[in-house]
Protein backbone atom coordinates (compact mmCIF):
# COMPACT_ATOMS: atom_id res chain seq x y z
CA UNK A 1 0.00 0.00 0.00
CA UNK A 2 1.19 3.52 -0.59
CA UNK A 3 0.56 7.09 -1.63
CA UNK A 4 0.30 8.72 -5.02
CA UNK A 5 0.56 12.47 -4.67
CA UNK A 6 -0.64 14.24 -7.80
CA UNK A 7 0.81 17.71 -7.34
CA UNK A 8 -0.93 19.06 -10.45
CA UNK A 9 -4.18 19.31 -8.50
CA UNK A 10 -2.71 20.37 -5.14
CA UNK A 11 -4.21 23.69 -4.04
CA UNK A 12 -1.81 24.23 -1.16
CA UNK A 13 -4.52 24.20 1.51
CA UNK A 14 -2.31 22.30 3.99
CA UNK A 15 -5.26 20.19 5.13
CA UNK A 16 -2.92 17.19 4.94
CA UNK A 17 -0.41 18.84 7.25
CA UNK A 18 -3.10 19.67 9.75
CA UNK A 19 -4.87 16.31 9.56
CA UNK A 20 -1.55 14.54 10.09
CA UNK A 21 -0.72 16.65 13.11
CA UNK A 22 -4.16 16.14 14.57
CA UNK A 23 -4.31 12.40 14.10
CA UNK A 24 -0.76 11.65 15.17
CA UNK A 25 -0.81 14.23 18.00
CA UNK A 26 2.40 15.83 16.76
CA UNK A 27 3.84 18.75 18.70
CA UNK A 28 3.99 22.16 17.08
CA UNK A 29 7.17 23.17 15.25
CA UNK A 30 7.25 26.64 16.74
CA UNK A 31 5.53 29.64 15.24
CA UNK A 32 8.15 30.95 12.88
CA UNK A 33 7.98 32.63 9.53
CA UNK A 34 10.43 31.49 6.92
CA UNK A 35 9.77 34.60 4.88
CA UNK A 36 10.23 32.77 1.59
CA UNK A 37 6.66 31.95 0.53
CA UNK A 38 3.39 30.75 2.03
CA UNK A 39 5.41 27.78 3.23
CA UNK A 40 6.19 28.32 6.89
CA UNK A 41 6.80 24.65 7.64
CA UNK A 42 9.99 24.62 5.58
CA UNK A 43 10.40 20.91 5.20
CA UNK A 44 9.71 17.50 6.62
CA UNK A 45 10.92 16.94 10.14
CA UNK A 46 10.32 15.11 13.38
CA UNK A 47 7.09 17.03 13.96
CA UNK A 48 6.00 17.58 10.34
CA UNK A 49 5.22 14.39 8.52
CA UNK A 50 3.47 16.12 5.64
CA UNK A 51 4.84 19.32 4.19
CA UNK A 52 3.31 21.44 1.47
CA UNK A 53 5.86 23.18 -0.73
CA UNK A 54 4.99 26.45 -2.47
CA UNK A 55 7.06 27.28 -5.52
CA UNK A 56 6.63 30.58 -7.30
CA UNK A 57 7.84 30.56 -10.88
CA UNK A 58 7.91 33.05 -13.72
CA UNK A 59 6.61 30.51 -16.14
CA UNK A 60 3.29 30.34 -17.94
CA UNK A 61 0.95 27.72 -16.61
CA UNK A 62 -1.44 28.08 -19.52
CA UNK A 63 -3.83 30.97 -19.61
CA UNK A 64 -5.93 31.36 -16.51
CA UNK A 65 -8.94 33.52 -17.17
CA UNK A 66 -11.31 34.26 -14.30
CA UNK A 67 -14.03 35.02 -16.86
CA UNK A 68 -15.11 38.17 -15.04
CA UNK A 69 -15.36 40.29 -18.17
CA UNK A 70 -18.14 38.09 -19.50
CA UNK A 71 -20.38 38.43 -16.47
CA UNK A 72 -22.67 41.17 -15.32
CA UNK A 73 -19.79 43.40 -14.40
CA UNK A 74 -19.33 44.79 -17.84
CA UNK A 75 -15.90 46.18 -18.38
CA UNK A 76 -15.14 46.84 -14.75
CA UNK A 77 -11.90 45.14 -13.85
CA UNK A 78 -12.59 44.41 -10.23
CA UNK A 79 -9.19 43.29 -9.01
CA UNK A 80 -7.05 43.69 -12.07
CA UNK A 81 -7.55 39.99 -12.62
CA UNK A 82 -9.03 40.08 -16.09
CA UNK A 83 -7.28 38.68 -19.06
CA UNK A 84 -6.36 42.09 -20.35
CA UNK A 85 -4.76 43.25 -17.14
CA UNK A 86 -2.87 40.00 -16.84
CA UNK A 87 -1.78 40.12 -20.46
CA UNK A 88 -0.56 43.65 -20.08
CA UNK A 89 1.69 42.25 -17.39
CA UNK A 90 2.06 45.65 -15.81
CA UNK A 91 1.08 46.81 -12.38
CA UNK A 92 0.24 50.38 -11.59
CA UNK A 93 3.83 51.26 -10.76
CA UNK A 94 5.11 49.81 -14.01
CA UNK A 95 6.60 46.69 -12.45
CA UNK A 96 6.64 43.74 -14.83
CA UNK A 97 4.59 40.91 -13.38
CA UNK A 98 5.00 38.67 -16.37
CA UNK A 99 3.52 35.26 -16.55
CA UNK A 100 3.60 33.40 -13.34
CA UNK A 101 2.73 30.04 -11.89
CA UNK A 102 2.56 28.45 -8.52
CA UNK A 103 3.51 24.87 -7.93
CA UNK A 104 2.23 23.28 -4.77
CA UNK A 105 3.23 19.84 -3.63
CA UNK A 106 2.59 17.84 -0.49
CA UNK A 107 5.75 15.96 0.47
CA UNK A 108 5.88 12.95 2.75
CA UNK A 109 8.15 10.04 3.74
CA UNK A 110 8.74 7.97 0.61
CA UNK A 111 8.58 4.53 2.31
CA UNK A 112 11.36 3.27 0.02
CA UNK A 113 11.49 -0.35 -1.06
CA UNK A 114 15.19 -0.30 -0.15
CA UNK A 115 15.09 2.01 2.84
CA UNK A 116 18.43 3.41 3.99
CA UNK A 117 17.05 4.45 7.39
CA UNK A 118 15.88 0.92 8.07
CA UNK A 119 19.17 -0.59 6.87
CA UNK A 120 21.44 1.56 9.03
CA UNK A 121 19.34 1.54 12.23
CA UNK A 122 21.59 -0.21 14.77
CA UNK A 123 18.81 -1.11 17.19
CA UNK A 124 16.20 -2.56 14.84
CA UNK A 125 13.75 0.11 15.91
CA UNK A 126 12.90 0.85 12.27
CA UNK A 127 10.99 -2.00 10.69
CA UNK A 128 8.97 -2.86 7.61
CA UNK A 129 5.28 -3.42 8.18
CA UNK A 130 2.99 -5.94 6.54
CA UNK A 131 1.87 -3.12 4.21
CA UNK A 132 5.41 -2.60 2.91
CA UNK A 133 5.77 0.69 4.77
CA UNK A 134 8.62 1.76 7.07
CA UNK A 135 7.83 2.61 10.69
CA UNK A 136 9.88 3.64 13.77
CA UNK A 137 9.20 1.91 17.09
CA UNK A 138 9.74 4.81 19.43
CA UNK A 139 10.31 2.67 22.54
CA UNK A 140 13.36 1.03 20.96
CA UNK A 141 14.86 4.04 19.17
CA UNK A 142 17.94 5.07 21.12
CA UNK A 143 18.45 8.43 19.48
CA UNK A 144 21.74 7.64 17.74
CA UNK A 145 20.55 9.74 14.80
CA UNK A 146 22.23 7.50 12.22
CA UNK A 147 19.11 7.30 10.05
CA UNK A 148 18.95 11.10 9.77
CA UNK A 149 21.90 11.65 7.38
CA UNK A 150 21.35 8.18 5.85
CA UNK A 151 17.95 9.09 4.39
CA UNK A 152 18.56 10.22 0.78
CA UNK A 153 15.34 12.26 0.92
CA UNK A 154 16.04 14.08 4.19
CA UNK A 155 12.77 12.91 5.71
CA UNK A 156 13.44 11.40 9.12
CA UNK A 157 14.61 13.76 11.86
CA UNK A 158 15.40 13.90 15.54
CA UNK A 159 12.95 15.55 17.92
CA UNK A 160 14.81 18.22 19.87
CA UNK A 161 13.48 17.50 23.35
CA UNK A 162 13.63 13.70 23.45
CA UNK A 163 16.45 12.90 21.02
CA UNK A 164 14.54 10.12 19.29
CA UNK A 165 13.65 10.14 15.61
CA UNK A 166 10.17 10.41 14.15
CA UNK A 167 8.62 10.27 10.72
CA UNK A 168 5.47 9.40 8.79
CA UNK A 169 4.09 5.98 9.69
CA UNK A 170 1.69 6.05 6.72
CA UNK A 171 -0.90 6.03 9.53
CA UNK A 172 -0.03 2.45 10.50
CA UNK A 173 -2.78 2.55 13.13
CA UNK A 174 -5.49 3.74 10.74
CA UNK A 175 -4.42 1.41 7.92
CA UNK A 176 -4.50 -1.55 10.31
CA UNK A 177 -8.10 -0.64 11.03
CA UNK A 178 -9.05 -0.50 7.37
CA UNK A 179 -9.05 3.27 7.18
CA UNK A 180 -7.03 5.41 4.82
CA UNK A 181 -4.28 7.69 6.16
CA UNK A 182 -5.39 10.99 7.67
CA UNK A 183 -3.73 13.15 4.99
CA UNK A 184 -5.38 11.30 2.11
CA UNK A 185 -8.72 11.45 3.92
CA UNK A 186 -8.45 15.19 4.43
CA UNK A 187 -7.22 16.11 0.95
CA UNK A 188 -10.10 18.04 -0.70
CA UNK A 189 -8.83 17.65 -4.28
CA UNK A 190 -7.69 14.04 -4.03
CA UNK A 191 -4.18 15.22 -4.72
CA UNK A 192 -3.14 12.60 -2.17
CA UNK A 193 -4.40 9.15 -3.08
CA UNK A 194 -3.93 6.04 -1.00
CA UNK A 195 -4.20 2.47 -2.25
CA UNK A 196 -2.35 -0.56 -3.59
CA UNK A 197 0.79 0.60 -5.39
CA UNK A 198 0.06 -1.30 -8.62
CA UNK A 199 -3.28 0.39 -9.00
CA UNK A 200 -1.85 3.78 -8.12
CA UNK A 201 0.98 3.40 -10.64
CA UNK A 202 -1.53 2.63 -13.37
CA UNK A 203 -3.62 5.66 -12.50
CA UNK A 204 -0.49 7.81 -12.38
CA UNK A 205 0.63 6.64 -15.82
CA UNK A 206 -2.79 7.50 -17.27
CA UNK A 207 -2.73 10.90 -15.62
CA UNK A 208 0.71 11.78 -17.00
CA UNK A 209 -0.38 10.73 -20.47
CA UNK A 210 -3.43 12.90 -20.19
CA UNK A 211 -1.38 15.92 -19.10
CA UNK A 212 1.10 15.41 -21.92
CA UNK A 213 -1.77 15.29 -24.40
CA UNK A 214 -3.04 18.55 -22.96
CA UNK A 215 0.34 20.13 -23.58
CA UNK A 216 1.74 20.04 -20.05
CA UNK A 217 5.10 18.73 -21.23
CA UNK A 218 6.84 19.09 -17.90
CA UNK A 219 4.59 16.61 -16.11
CA UNK A 220 6.54 13.58 -14.90
CA UNK A 221 6.34 10.85 -12.32
CA UNK A 222 8.88 10.67 -9.52
CA UNK A 223 9.66 7.64 -7.38
CA UNK A 224 7.30 5.34 -9.31
CA UNK A 225 9.97 3.16 -10.93
CA UNK A 226 10.75 -0.05 -8.97
CA UNK A 227 14.08 -0.11 -10.85
CA UNK A 228 15.41 3.18 -9.44
CA UNK A 229 18.10 3.67 -6.78
CA UNK A 230 15.77 2.96 -3.89
CA UNK A 231 13.76 0.17 -5.50
CA UNK A 232 10.77 2.42 -6.01
CA UNK A 233 8.96 4.50 -3.43
CA UNK A 234 5.88 3.56 -1.45
CA UNK A 235 4.95 7.22 -1.85
CA UNK A 236 5.44 8.59 -5.34
CA UNK A 237 4.60 11.84 -7.01
CA UNK A 238 3.46 13.54 -10.17
CA UNK A 239 5.58 16.65 -10.53
CA UNK A 240 5.39 19.57 -12.95
CA UNK A 241 9.08 20.42 -12.84
CA UNK A 242 12.49 18.96 -11.96
CA UNK A 243 12.50 17.19 -8.58
CA UNK A 244 15.11 19.55 -7.09
CA UNK A 245 12.76 22.48 -7.65
CA UNK A 246 10.49 20.84 -5.07
CA UNK A 247 13.45 20.15 -2.73
CA UNK A 248 13.59 16.48 -3.76
CA UNK A 249 16.82 14.70 -4.74
CA UNK A 250 16.95 14.10 -8.52
CA UNK A 251 18.30 10.57 -8.42
CA UNK A 252 18.40 9.17 -4.89
CA UNK A 253 20.23 5.94 -4.18
CA UNK A 254 19.91 3.82 -1.05
CA UNK A 255 23.07 4.61 0.90
CA UNK A 256 23.77 0.96 1.71
CA UNK A 257 24.08 0.04 -1.98
CA UNK A 258 27.85 0.56 -1.84
CA UNK A 259 28.25 -0.98 1.62
CA UNK A 260 30.00 -4.22 0.54
CA UNK A 261 32.55 -2.15 -1.34
CA UNK A 262 32.92 0.15 1.67
CA UNK A 263 33.69 -2.80 3.95
CA UNK A 264 36.23 -4.11 1.43
CA UNK A 265 37.99 -0.76 1.33
CA UNK A 266 37.94 -0.54 5.13
CA UNK A 267 39.36 -4.06 5.38
CA UNK A 268 42.14 -3.18 2.96
CA UNK A 269 42.85 -0.02 4.97
CA UNK A 270 43.00 -2.00 8.25
CA UNK A 271 45.47 -4.44 6.69
CA UNK A 272 47.50 -1.51 5.36
CA UNK A 273 47.63 -0.07 8.86
CA UNK A 274 48.77 -3.36 10.44
CA UNK A 275 51.21 -4.04 7.59
CA UNK A 276 52.63 -0.52 7.81
CA UNK A 277 53.24 -0.75 11.57
CA UNK A 278 54.74 -4.23 11.15
CA UNK A 279 57.06 -2.92 8.42
CA UNK A 280 58.10 -0.03 10.64
CA UNK A 281 59.13 -2.49 13.39
CA UNK A 282 60.84 -4.80 10.90
CA UNK A 283 62.94 -1.99 9.48
CA UNK A 284 63.77 -0.22 12.73
CA UNK A 285 67.18 -1.43 13.80
CA UNK A 286 68.35 -1.00 17.36
CA UNK A 287 66.39 0.62 20.11
CA UNK A 288 66.95 4.20 19.11
Amino acid sequence: MGFFTDTSVCIGCKACEVACKEWNALPEDGLTFTGMSYDNTGGLGANSWRHVAFIEQRKPLGFQDPGLEYGDYGDVDLLGLTAEAAAAGQTANGEDRGEFRWLMASDVCKHCTHAACLDVCPTGSLFRTEYGTVVVQEDICNGCGYCVPACPYGVIDQRQDDGRVWKCTLCYDRVSDGMEPACAKACPTDSIQYGPLDELRERAARRVERLHEAGVEDARLYGHDPGDGVGGDGAFFLLLDEPEVYGLPPDPVVTTRDLPSMWRHAGAAALTLLGGIATVYATTRGRR
Binding site: A53, T123, G124, Y146, E180, A184, V245, T284
Partner: protein, 339 residues
Protein backbone atom coordinates in the same frame (compact mmCIF):
# COMPACT_ATOMS: atom_id res chain seq x y z
CA UNK B 1 -11.58 7.04 -0.50
CA UNK B 2 -12.59 3.54 -1.37
CA UNK B 3 -10.43 0.97 -3.09
CA UNK B 4 -11.25 -0.61 -6.41
CA UNK B 5 -12.44 -4.20 -6.34
CA UNK B 6 -12.11 -6.61 -9.21
CA UNK B 7 -15.19 -8.86 -9.29
CA UNK B 8 -16.75 -11.23 -11.82
CA UNK B 9 -18.90 -8.36 -13.02
CA UNK B 10 -15.86 -6.27 -13.69
CA UNK B 11 -14.14 -3.53 -11.73
CA UNK B 12 -16.32 -2.03 -9.00
CA UNK B 13 -15.91 1.03 -6.84
CA UNK B 14 -13.24 2.30 -9.17
CA UNK B 15 -12.23 5.81 -8.46
CA UNK B 16 -13.06 8.38 -11.10
CA UNK B 17 -10.28 9.59 -13.35
CA UNK B 18 -8.88 13.05 -13.12
CA UNK B 19 -10.39 15.68 -15.38
CA UNK B 20 -8.65 18.86 -14.36
CA UNK B 21 -5.69 19.89 -16.46
CA UNK B 22 -3.50 22.79 -15.34
CA UNK B 23 -4.15 25.80 -17.48
CA UNK B 24 -6.96 24.15 -19.43
CA UNK B 25 -9.67 26.40 -18.02
CA UNK B 26 -10.23 29.82 -19.40
CA UNK B 27 -8.49 29.30 -22.67
CA UNK B 28 -10.86 31.72 -24.33
CA UNK B 29 -9.03 34.69 -25.63
CA UNK B 30 -10.42 37.87 -26.97
CA UNK B 31 -9.79 38.19 -30.67
CA UNK B 32 -7.03 40.52 -31.64
CA UNK B 33 -5.44 40.52 -28.18
CA UNK B 34 -1.70 40.84 -28.33
CA UNK B 35 -0.04 38.08 -26.44
CA UNK B 36 3.16 39.86 -25.53
CA UNK B 37 4.25 43.40 -25.25
CA UNK B 38 7.62 45.01 -25.54
CA UNK B 39 10.86 43.51 -26.70
CA UNK B 40 11.48 39.80 -26.41
CA UNK B 41 13.66 38.83 -23.49
CA UNK B 42 17.26 38.29 -24.50
CA UNK B 43 18.64 36.86 -21.29
CA UNK B 44 17.00 33.56 -20.38
CA UNK B 45 15.42 33.33 -16.97
CA UNK B 46 17.78 32.03 -14.32
CA UNK B 47 17.27 28.35 -13.62
CA UNK B 48 15.52 27.67 -10.34
CA UNK B 49 17.56 24.73 -9.18
CA UNK B 50 16.50 24.24 -5.60
CA UNK B 51 13.68 24.85 -3.18
CA UNK B 52 14.62 28.29 -1.81
CA UNK B 53 18.14 26.95 -1.26
CA UNK B 54 16.90 24.67 1.51
CA UNK B 55 18.86 21.45 2.09
CA UNK B 56 17.58 18.34 0.32
CA UNK B 57 18.98 15.90 2.87
CA UNK B 58 19.19 16.38 6.61
CA UNK B 59 22.64 17.16 8.00
CA UNK B 60 23.82 14.81 10.77
CA UNK B 61 22.30 15.63 14.13
CA UNK B 62 25.51 14.53 15.81
CA UNK B 63 27.41 17.03 17.92
CA UNK B 64 30.84 17.71 16.41
CA UNK B 65 32.65 17.49 19.77
CA UNK B 66 31.15 14.05 20.43
CA UNK B 67 31.30 12.34 17.07
CA UNK B 68 34.33 14.00 15.45
CA UNK B 69 35.99 13.51 18.85
CA UNK B 70 34.92 9.87 18.77
CA UNK B 71 36.40 9.40 15.30
CA UNK B 72 39.72 10.89 16.48
CA UNK B 73 39.89 8.93 19.76
CA UNK B 74 38.89 5.68 18.07
CA UNK B 75 41.69 6.12 15.54
CA UNK B 76 44.16 6.99 18.30
CA UNK B 77 43.16 3.91 20.33
CA UNK B 78 43.33 1.49 17.40
CA UNK B 79 46.66 2.82 16.15
CA UNK B 80 48.13 2.77 19.67
CA UNK B 81 47.14 -0.87 20.16
CA UNK B 82 48.95 -1.84 16.95
CA UNK B 83 52.00 0.17 18.05
CA UNK B 84 51.86 -1.47 21.51
CA UNK B 85 51.80 -5.01 20.11
CA UNK B 86 54.88 -4.32 18.01
CA UNK B 87 56.69 -2.69 20.91
CA UNK B 88 55.96 -5.69 23.12
CA UNK B 89 57.19 -8.15 20.49
CA UNK B 90 60.43 -6.22 19.89
CA UNK B 91 61.19 -5.61 23.55
CA UNK B 92 60.37 -1.98 24.07
CA UNK B 93 58.42 -2.14 27.36
CA UNK B 94 58.14 1.59 28.00
CA UNK B 95 56.70 2.32 24.55
CA UNK B 96 54.35 -0.66 24.89
CA UNK B 97 53.09 0.56 28.26
CA UNK B 98 52.56 4.13 27.07
CA UNK B 99 50.68 2.95 23.98
CA UNK B 100 48.50 0.48 25.92
CA UNK B 101 47.50 3.00 28.55
CA UNK B 102 46.93 5.58 25.82
CA UNK B 103 44.69 3.14 23.94
CA UNK B 104 42.62 2.38 27.04
CA UNK B 105 42.25 6.06 27.85
CA UNK B 106 41.27 6.95 24.29
CA UNK B 107 38.73 4.17 23.89
CA UNK B 108 37.16 4.97 27.28
CA UNK B 109 36.84 8.62 26.37
CA UNK B 110 35.47 7.80 22.92
CA UNK B 111 32.82 5.49 24.37
CA UNK B 112 31.88 8.22 26.81
CA UNK B 113 31.54 10.64 23.89
CA UNK B 114 29.31 8.17 22.08
CA UNK B 115 27.06 7.72 25.10
CA UNK B 116 26.96 11.48 25.67
CA UNK B 117 25.70 11.89 22.11
CA UNK B 118 22.92 9.36 22.72
CA UNK B 119 21.73 11.38 25.70
CA UNK B 120 21.20 8.60 28.25
CA UNK B 121 23.60 5.72 29.17
CA UNK B 122 20.73 3.20 29.05
CA UNK B 123 20.36 3.88 25.35
CA UNK B 124 23.73 2.30 24.58
CA UNK B 125 22.28 -1.05 25.62
CA UNK B 126 19.79 -0.83 22.76
CA UNK B 127 22.78 -0.92 20.40
CA UNK B 128 23.38 -4.50 21.49
CA UNK B 129 19.82 -5.70 20.87
CA UNK B 130 20.68 -6.90 17.38
CA UNK B 131 23.64 -7.54 15.13
CA UNK B 132 22.93 -5.92 11.78
CA UNK B 133 25.54 -6.27 9.03
CA UNK B 134 23.76 -3.55 7.02
CA UNK B 135 24.35 -1.03 9.80
CA UNK B 136 27.97 0.07 10.29
CA UNK B 137 26.95 1.49 13.66
CA UNK B 138 25.67 -1.90 14.81
CA UNK B 139 28.80 -3.64 13.50
CA UNK B 140 30.89 -0.91 15.15
CA UNK B 141 29.21 -1.40 18.51
CA UNK B 142 30.18 -5.08 18.43
CA UNK B 143 33.72 -4.24 17.26
CA UNK B 144 33.96 -1.84 20.22
CA UNK B 145 32.67 -4.53 22.54
CA UNK B 146 35.34 -6.91 21.22
CA UNK B 147 38.10 -4.34 21.39
CA UNK B 148 37.44 -2.25 24.52
CA UNK B 149 37.79 -4.99 27.17
CA UNK B 150 40.88 -6.40 25.42
CA UNK B 151 42.49 -2.97 25.42
CA UNK B 152 41.58 -2.72 29.12
CA UNK B 153 43.12 -6.10 29.99
CA UNK B 154 46.26 -5.26 27.99
CA UNK B 155 46.73 -1.97 29.83
CA UNK B 156 45.91 -3.23 33.31
CA UNK B 157 48.09 -6.36 33.12
CA UNK B 158 50.98 -4.27 31.84
CA UNK B 159 50.63 -1.66 34.55
CA UNK B 160 50.22 -4.18 37.40
CA UNK B 161 52.47 -6.93 36.07
CA UNK B 162 49.81 -9.58 36.80
CA UNK B 163 48.62 -12.32 34.38
CA UNK B 164 51.36 -11.73 31.84
CA UNK B 165 50.19 -14.45 29.44
CA UNK B 166 46.61 -13.18 29.33
CA UNK B 167 48.03 -9.70 28.88
CA UNK B 168 50.04 -10.83 25.84
CA UNK B 169 46.99 -12.43 24.25
CA UNK B 170 44.92 -9.31 24.93
CA UNK B 171 47.65 -7.14 23.42
CA UNK B 172 47.66 -9.20 20.23
CA UNK B 173 43.88 -9.24 19.95
CA UNK B 174 43.57 -5.52 20.64
CA UNK B 175 46.06 -4.82 17.85
CA UNK B 176 43.93 -6.74 15.33
CA UNK B 177 40.57 -5.43 16.50
CA UNK B 178 42.09 -1.97 17.00
CA UNK B 179 42.80 -1.75 13.29
CA UNK B 180 39.12 -2.50 12.72
CA UNK B 181 38.12 0.27 15.16
CA UNK B 182 40.33 2.74 13.29
CA UNK B 183 38.90 1.95 9.85
CA UNK B 184 35.25 1.10 10.52
CA UNK B 185 34.56 4.72 11.51
CA UNK B 186 35.21 5.68 7.88
CA UNK B 187 32.46 3.29 6.78
CA UNK B 188 30.26 4.68 9.56
CA UNK B 189 30.23 8.16 8.05
CA UNK B 190 30.52 7.08 4.39
CA UNK B 191 27.34 4.99 4.63
CA UNK B 192 25.16 8.11 4.68
CA UNK B 193 23.61 10.27 2.00
CA UNK B 194 26.07 13.08 2.88
CA UNK B 195 27.73 13.75 -0.51
CA UNK B 196 31.23 14.67 0.74
CA UNK B 197 31.36 11.47 2.83
CA UNK B 198 29.49 8.98 0.68
CA UNK B 199 31.29 9.80 -2.55
CA UNK B 200 34.65 9.51 -0.74
CA UNK B 201 34.03 6.03 0.61
CA UNK B 202 36.96 4.47 -1.27
CA UNK B 203 39.63 6.74 0.19
CA UNK B 204 38.22 7.63 3.61
CA UNK B 205 39.28 4.36 5.33
CA UNK B 206 42.88 4.91 4.18
CA UNK B 207 42.81 8.54 5.33
CA UNK B 208 41.56 7.32 8.70
CA UNK B 209 44.14 4.48 8.89
CA UNK B 210 46.97 6.92 8.14
CA UNK B 211 45.66 9.48 10.58
CA UNK B 212 45.20 6.80 13.26
CA UNK B 213 48.79 5.63 12.83
CA UNK B 214 50.09 9.21 12.91
CA UNK B 215 48.18 10.06 16.09
CA UNK B 216 49.34 6.85 17.81
CA UNK B 217 52.90 7.73 16.81
CA UNK B 218 52.32 11.17 18.26
CA UNK B 219 51.22 9.70 21.57
CA UNK B 220 54.27 7.37 21.52
CA UNK B 221 56.63 10.27 20.91
CA UNK B 222 54.99 12.28 23.64
CA UNK B 223 54.76 9.61 26.33
CA UNK B 224 57.57 7.08 25.70
CA UNK B 225 61.24 7.68 26.46
CA UNK B 226 63.20 8.86 23.44
CA UNK B 227 65.45 5.78 23.53
CA UNK B 228 62.50 3.53 22.66
CA UNK B 229 60.66 5.87 20.33
CA UNK B 230 62.30 4.83 17.05
CA UNK B 231 59.25 2.84 15.84
CA UNK B 232 57.00 5.77 16.76
CA UNK B 233 59.08 7.97 14.48
CA UNK B 234 58.74 5.40 11.72
CA UNK B 235 55.00 5.11 12.32
CA UNK B 236 54.70 8.89 12.14
CA UNK B 237 56.29 8.91 8.69
CA UNK B 238 54.18 5.97 7.52
CA UNK B 239 50.94 7.38 8.90
CA UNK B 240 51.50 10.88 7.56
CA UNK B 241 52.44 9.55 4.11
CA UNK B 242 49.38 7.27 3.95
CA UNK B 243 47.04 9.98 5.20
CA UNK B 244 48.29 12.66 2.81
CA UNK B 245 48.39 10.36 -0.21
CA UNK B 246 44.87 9.04 0.40
CA UNK B 247 43.55 12.54 1.04
CA UNK B 248 45.11 13.84 -2.18
CA UNK B 249 43.59 10.99 -4.14
CA UNK B 250 40.23 11.58 -2.49
CA UNK B 251 40.14 15.27 -3.37
CA UNK B 252 41.17 14.56 -6.96
CA UNK B 253 38.52 11.92 -7.49
CA UNK B 254 35.78 13.99 -5.88
CA UNK B 255 36.41 16.88 -8.30
CA UNK B 256 33.91 19.68 -7.63
CA UNK B 257 32.47 17.69 -4.72
CA UNK B 258 35.78 18.19 -2.87
CA UNK B 259 34.93 21.86 -2.47
CA UNK B 260 33.54 21.47 1.08
CA UNK B 261 36.93 20.05 2.10
CA UNK B 262 38.68 23.20 0.89
CA UNK B 263 36.30 26.02 1.76
CA UNK B 264 35.42 27.71 5.02
CA UNK B 265 36.02 26.28 8.45
CA UNK B 266 36.41 22.74 7.11
CA UNK B 267 39.08 23.93 4.69
CA UNK B 268 40.90 25.71 7.50
CA UNK B 269 40.84 22.56 9.65
CA UNK B 270 42.00 20.38 6.76
CA UNK B 271 44.89 22.75 5.99
CA UNK B 272 45.83 22.89 9.68
CA UNK B 273 45.77 19.08 9.76
CA UNK B 274 48.09 18.92 6.77
CA UNK B 275 50.56 21.44 8.17
CA UNK B 276 50.60 19.88 11.65
CA UNK B 277 50.95 16.32 10.34
CA UNK B 278 53.77 17.20 7.92
CA UNK B 279 55.55 19.26 10.58
CA UNK B 280 55.18 16.52 13.18
CA UNK B 281 56.36 13.71 10.92
CA UNK B 282 59.22 15.74 9.44
CA UNK B 283 60.32 16.91 12.88
CA UNK B 284 60.33 13.35 14.17
CA UNK B 285 62.58 12.29 11.29
CA UNK B 286 65.10 15.07 11.95
CA UNK B 287 67.82 14.72 14.60
CA UNK B 288 66.08 17.42 16.63
CA UNK B 289 63.12 15.06 17.03
CA UNK B 290 65.29 12.77 19.14
CA UNK B 291 65.61 15.23 21.98
CA UNK B 292 63.01 14.97 24.75
CA UNK B 293 61.50 18.37 24.00
CA UNK B 294 61.63 17.86 20.24
CA UNK B 295 59.87 14.49 20.46
CA UNK B 296 57.17 15.91 22.70
CA UNK B 297 56.62 18.83 20.33
CA UNK B 298 56.39 16.56 17.28
CA UNK B 299 54.06 14.21 19.13
CA UNK B 300 51.74 17.03 20.12
CA UNK B 301 51.70 18.30 16.52
CA UNK B 302 50.78 14.85 15.19
CA UNK B 303 47.96 14.45 17.73
CA UNK B 304 46.61 17.91 16.96
CA UNK B 305 46.88 17.23 13.22
CA UNK B 306 44.85 14.05 13.51
CA UNK B 307 42.19 15.79 15.59
CA UNK B 308 41.99 18.66 13.07
CA UNK B 309 41.56 16.14 10.26
CA UNK B 310 38.58 14.44 11.91
CA UNK B 311 36.90 17.73 12.78
CA UNK B 312 37.60 18.99 9.25
CA UNK B 313 36.07 15.93 7.61
CA UNK B 314 33.08 16.16 9.95
CA UNK B 315 32.53 19.83 9.13
CA UNK B 316 32.95 19.25 5.38
CA UNK B 317 30.23 16.60 5.56
CA UNK B 318 27.91 18.92 7.43
CA UNK B 319 28.42 21.69 4.88
CA UNK B 320 27.89 19.36 1.91
CA UNK B 321 24.65 18.08 3.43
CA UNK B 322 23.34 21.58 4.15
CA UNK B 323 23.84 22.87 0.60
CA UNK B 324 21.42 21.29 -1.93
CA UNK B 325 23.93 22.11 -4.68
CA UNK B 326 26.19 19.22 -3.64
CA UNK B 327 23.37 16.71 -3.35
CA UNK B 328 22.11 17.51 -6.84
CA UNK B 329 25.65 17.65 -8.23
CA UNK B 330 26.51 14.20 -6.91
CA UNK B 331 23.34 12.62 -8.27
CA UNK B 332 23.27 14.37 -11.64
CA UNK B 333 26.88 13.40 -12.35
CA UNK B 334 26.10 9.82 -11.32
CA UNK B 335 23.32 9.69 -13.84
CA UNK B 336 25.53 11.06 -16.61
CA UNK B 337 28.26 8.55 -15.88
CA UNK B 338 25.60 5.83 -16.11
CA UNK B 339 26.42 4.43 -12.70
Amino acid sequence: MSEAEVTREGVRRQRPGRDAVPGAEGRRRRPGRRRRRGEPTVVPEAEFGSYYGRPIIKPPTWKAADIAGYLFLGGLAGGSSALAAGAELTGRPALARAAKIGALGAISLSTAALIHDLGRPGRFVNMLRVFKPTSPMSVGSWILLGYGPAAGVAAVTDATGLFRRAGRAATGWSALSGAAVTCYTAVLIADTAVPAWHEAYRELPFVFAGSGAASAAGLGLLAAPVCEAAPARGAALFGAALELAAERRMERRLGPLAEPYRAGRAGLLMRAAKVLTIAGAAGAALPAGRSRAGAALCGAALLAGSACLRFGIFEAGRVSATDPHYTVLAQRSDRKAGR
